[in-house]
């Protein structure tokens, strides 16, 4: 639509000590796009994701999120408010109930009144199908339920972008679908999503673009169907053959 990309990543490099984790990644993501990033472990895909909301500090290059350049400390919190993140290990707050998990940042960061925060939280919990468990502590929920609460928690901040860091990797097989269904619904609503995941089914159904990363670089990208069925790069082909065997 000729609009500015909501995420602009330009030639980003990241080092962990002597390990060169990101080797010049350049990537633009448009508003409303759903991008799935895949690649072998250690390929830098999670690092890239975590650089977008500055959980990792990149060394050189430039990341602009929603027209805010990620550099100074004040900008970090401004960006993080607009970017929701869902983690592999859910990272719910175990000392708080499901409802409190979803209302905490609303009250502390967005300064919403308790009643308003609760209403928003209950609507979101309903959306992810756990509204009846709002008084329960995370330890009493299954992994899939916890991840759905985590999605609701991130959505409660009304983010413009949602980042998913291997959201189904820690789940038992039968719980993956309930989480993917929630993500699918979110994608249909037009949320901008960056998803690090090997869920091919989700990528085919929801993603506008699939990106293959290896050794800190983007090897190739394209529509998921095209990337999965006829990858142009040897490394992509090799990786896909291993993933599809499972």
């Amino acid at each position: 639509m000729g609009e500015e990309p909501i995420i602009k990543i330009q030639d980003v490099h990241k080092y962990y000590g002597r390990v060169h984790a990101l080797r010049g990644v350049t990537l633009n993501i448009d508003r409303g796009e759903v991008v799935v990033i895949l690649g072998p472990s250690g390929s830098g895909k999670s690092t890239l994701l975590r650089c977008i909301n500055h959980l990792e500090v990149y060394n050189t290059g430039k990341i602009v999120v929603d027209n805010i350049l990620l550099k100074s400390a004040q900008n970090i919190n401004a960006v993080r408010r607009e970017v929701g993140m869902v983690f592999q290990q859910f990272n719910l707050f175990p000392h708080l109930t499901v409802l409190e998990n979803v209302t905490l940042a609303q009250r502390v960061v967005r300064k919403r009144q308790p009643a308003e925060a609760k209403k928003i939280a209950m609507d979101l919990l309903k959306k992810v199908g756990i509204e009846h468990k709002f008084e329960v502590y995370p330890a009493q929920l299954s992994g899939g339920q916890q991840q759905r609460v985590a999605i609701a928690r991130a959505l409660a901040m009304n983010p413009k972008i949602m980042l998913f860091d291997e959201p189904t990797s820690a789940l038992d097989p039968e719980m993956i679908k309930e989480v993917l269904d929630v993500m699918l619904a979110l994608a249909k609503e037009g949320m901008t999503m960056v998803v690090v995941s090997h869920e091919m089914g989700f990528a085919r159904a929801a993603a506008s673009r699939a990106i293959f990363m290896d050794e800190g670089q983007i090897i190739e990208q394209g529509p998921p169907d095209q990337l999965f069925s006829s990858p142009s790069h040897d490394r992509t082909r090799l990786f896909l053959s291993k993933v599809l065997q499972i």
Binding site: G84, V108, Y137, Q140
Partner: protein, 294 residues
């Protein structure tokens, strides 16, 4: 029985719902934990109660049936007993505050704060408590007076030492160092993902600490903190050396006057024991109450 509230009974609500939904995945973890052999702590707690009761009964029995000397000892040392309790409680409140500040200082990214906290912990952890108490009582007043004279400040130059205050200082600085390390370890034991989840929602470092990390760290440190408290009760006996009329000092005075070491020190020992047993039980109760995973 009327339900006390939804939060208290969440375990029951869940198990009830689980039964209805019949979903194996929703089984509450707390009920499973209790099934692990050796996890039934209630019987052990009862043992504590018995021990407290028996020791208390022995003390009361001795006082009633052998008032001379036990009732006389009790009358003589009761002020000392009170001082021991007050000294422990007052010191402990300050120890918790120092430990909190010291613990946050030890994990601070600011190198100056980190350095100060580390030096504090290493110095006060490395010197025996008794030596520290003696230093505070005998050396600190002289230092303060000299300092007062040097800057020509009259109130300090004529500083009169207060034994109780200096004893509290000694206990707080020494135990504060241990407590700093306990708090540091407690904060660091919280999974990194917790602070990431908090920060990723736009919370500042201080907000994440206050609402997410510290509430969890408090639960983690409760057992070692309770342990420190029990040790503090016993270590307050060291202040008897620096002119504080605590339980131990009262016992020494009674023995000096009546020459009955066995009765006196048996009574003193039982009084310390009943205190530590009682507070152990209180700490166990707190631990149980504050557990959220059960």
């Amino acid at each position: 029985m009327p339900e006390k509230g939804p939060i208290r009974n969440f375990g029951r609500i869940i198990s009830g719902r689980t039964a209805r939904v019949k979903d194996a995945n929703q089984t509450a973890e707390d009920s499973e934990l209790k099934l692990i052999p050796g996890n039934e702590i209630s019987s052990k707690l009862d043992a504590w109660w018995w021990l407290v009761a028996v020791v208390a009964l022995i003390i009361i029995g001795l006082m009633v049936f052998k008032p001379d000397p036990y009732w006389n000892i009790m009358l003589f040392v009761r002020n000392g007993l009170l001082i021991t309790i007050v000294l422990t409680l007052v010191s402990f409140i300050f120890i918790l505050m120092v430990g909190m500040i010291g613990g946050l200082g030890r994990i601070a990214k600011n190198p100056v704060i980190h350095f100060i906290a580390t030096v504090y912990v290493e110095i006060f952890r490395g010197i025996p408590l008794l030596v520290q108490l003696i230093w505070w009582y005998f050396a600190a007043p002289v230092v303060i007076q000299s300092f007062g004279r040097a800057i020509n400040f009259e109130p300090l130059a004529h500083y009169q030492s207060n034994a109780l205050l200096l004893a509290v200082m000694g206990l707080v600085f020494c135990y504060g160092a241990y407590m700093s390390e306990i708090f540091r370890a407690g904060i660091q034991s919280i999974h990194k993902g917790q602070i990431e989840a908090a920060r990723s929602q736009g919370m500042t470092y201080m907000q994440a600490m206050r609402y997410v990390i510290l509430p969890q760290a408090f639960r983690v440190v409760l057992p070692p903190v309770g342990n420190e408290f029990i040790m503090l009760i016993k270590d307050t006996s060291l202040v008897s050396v620096v002119a504080v009329a605590d339980l131990t000092r009262s016992g020494r005075e009674f023995m000096a006057a009546h020459f009955n070491p066995i009765e006196t020190w048996t009574m003193i020992a039982l009084l310390y024991l009943v205190m530590t047993l009682f507070f152990t039980r209180v700490i166990d109760w707190l631990e149980k109450k504050r557990g959220y995973e059960k």
